[in-house]
Amino acid sequence: MTAYTASELLCVMAARRLEDGMTVFAGVGLPLLSVVLAKRTHAPRLTMVVEGGVIGCEVVPGRLPISTNEMRLAHRATMLPGITDLFLFAQRGYIDVAFMGGAQIDQHGNVNTSVIGASHGSSADDPARAARGNYDHPRVRLPGTGGANDIASLCSELVIVTMHEKRRFVPRVDFVTSPGFLDGGDARRQAGLCFGTVSQVITNLGLFGFDDVSRAMRLDALHPNVTIDDVREQTGFEVLVAEQVAVTEPPTETELAILRSLDADRRFLG
């Protein structure tokens, strides 16, 4: 069996999640590599869209873009509709699936890419003020949503792809940048979101779904040589476990060779 890194494992698992003919919203970095890998293996008729305002992107190996709006991504695309109109295609319902990562992910699939913690200014007896204090005086100011909130709100399906670390998998995110199931149950629909769902979380430890009723995260499959205890150790909340936990097929030589040719400098694969 060929050795592979955690990033390569994530890319392969995400790529396998895509079906031929889908329209996929890809971010730069690992998600982009996953989509290109899928396109070059089992899903040649995938349409890739990118938030800079590109439909039908193609990527040149070795010249991967680092932002979502470079000419590297527009090369041989089919349309450059502009950012606002690209997201309006998502709102209309044309985007089937999207990949996303995040600094914090919680048990209901909410994602935080905005702020971590409060340095001062929060008030324990006034939750509304405390929330504002968190936001305006954060311990760590992260880059922010970009298109992540729109993607989570508007695409038919969201797949979260991320490294599995205890500090990342928290019971409740400090700030809901991108909505998963919010407080669980039917909270997402109650908030007014008519479309979209978090269908899966793919990590370097396994594949996770969400309970149909509580919308709490559930372990569905483990990657080779990973145990349920490894998952529990690296998760900051009580993760549900499916009755039958599957084991995934490891990345193949072909999959790894394609990934490595795309990012020969290993700028994204690490």
Binding site: Q91, H137, R141, G146, V176, G192
Partner: protein, 321 residues
């Protein structure tokens, strides 16, 4: 500053300014005198794509302060605004130096201390705020942002749709005092054409009271008239036109030159070593130092510029890769 959504005041401002067909060609220094302390400035392009760097440098050189800056994705150019002490509020969906370089140090420094407020909206929300303004309307509805904590950051509202009963998020029109944009070609009256990514520039131009445009090339009005379908910003909306080859550099201008990633690598490495002092040194060398745009380009040298032009031509110039 026009209050979010105040379409009546925004229209009054347009009525109060000269809008006739006239020669608007001028230099950047003259154009930037139209920018006031405390203005809300919308910056065109997106991330490294078509940032209006000449106008940004000139605003900093002229020492404008207490600015509110709106841009969908902010990158290195906004680190310069922050460290120069020019900005009070950022209205954006994202800010970072670029994926390979992690979090923005200046963003963390100024926002975590509370000196600067980051008013975060989703990417589409920023786009719809400009579009609502471009439409001369107070707001637009969307299915984005609902249920998220972004609803509590800015002035988004919810309403019950009168037709379906569904809950909608409303985002208020964003009317900038000034828009600064970089385009591929313009005539001296301000008719602008853009190649490649349109980003939000056309909406931003219609949304703003005052519009300053730098162009890679100043073309004869006749060329515009021969391809009017390519014009995305009409002269009606434009107040100043500045000739600026490489006006987005070190960012990219679609088809003409690629982002100088090696320059940004060096900038990031300097910050790793010296923190914000590296940005102060960068401001001295690249912003306050060079007296002209040409002097700025000379800091990079013709070889570096030619290299970035070749890279662009390889990608979108039709040469097979």
């Amino acid at each position: 500053m026009i209050k979010p959504g105040d379409f009546v005041e925004a229209r009054r401002r347009l009525a109060a300014k000269p809008r006739g067909h006239r020669d608007k060609l001028m230099d950047a220094a003259e154009a930037v005198r139209l920018v006031q302390d405390g203005d809300l400035i919308a910056v065109g392009g997106c991330c490294f794509s078509r940032p209006p760097m000449l106008l940004i440098r000139e605003i900093l050189r002229q020492g404008r302060k207490d600015l509110t800056i709106a841009r969908n994705l902010m990158a290195q150019e906004m680190e310069l605004f922050l460290v120069a002490g020019a900005v009070r509020t950022l209205v954006a969906s994202w800010m970072g130096p670029g994926l390979p370089w992690g979090l923005s140090r200046p963003l963390r420094h100024y926002v975590e201390s509370g000196e600067v407020r980051f008013e975060e909206w989703s990417h589409l929300a920023i786009g719809l705020r400009f579009r609502a303004a471009a439409m001369g309307m107070p707001f637009l509805p969307t299915q984005s942002m609902l249920g998220s904590d972004l609803m509590g950051v800015g002035s988004a509202q919810t309403m019950t749709c009168p037709y379906t009963g569904e809950t909608l998020c409303l985002v208020p029109a964003l009317f900038p005092d000034v828009a600064i944009l970089h385009v591929h070609r313009a005539d001296r009256y301000g008719n602008c054409q853009i190649d490649g990514y349109p980003h939000m520039d056309a909406d931003i131009a219609s949304a703003a009271t005052t519009v300053l445009v730098t162009a890679e090339e100043i073309v004869d009005e006749d060329l515009i008239k021969r391809q009017p379908d390519r014009t995305v910003i009409p002269d009606l909306a434009v107040d100043a036109v500045i000739h600026a080859p490489f006006g987005a550099f070190p960012g990219e201008c679609y088809g003409l030159y690629e982002t100088d990633f090696s320059h940004l690598d060096a900038y990031a490495a300097a910050q790793d070593e010296k923190g914000l002092d590296a940005v102060r040194e960068y401001l001295d060398r690249y912003v306050y130092g060079p007296p002209t745009h040409q002097a700025y380009l000379d800091l990079f040298g013709p070889e570096a510029l030619a290299r970035q032009q070749r890279a662009a031509r390889e990608l979108v110039g039709g040469d097979p890769l």
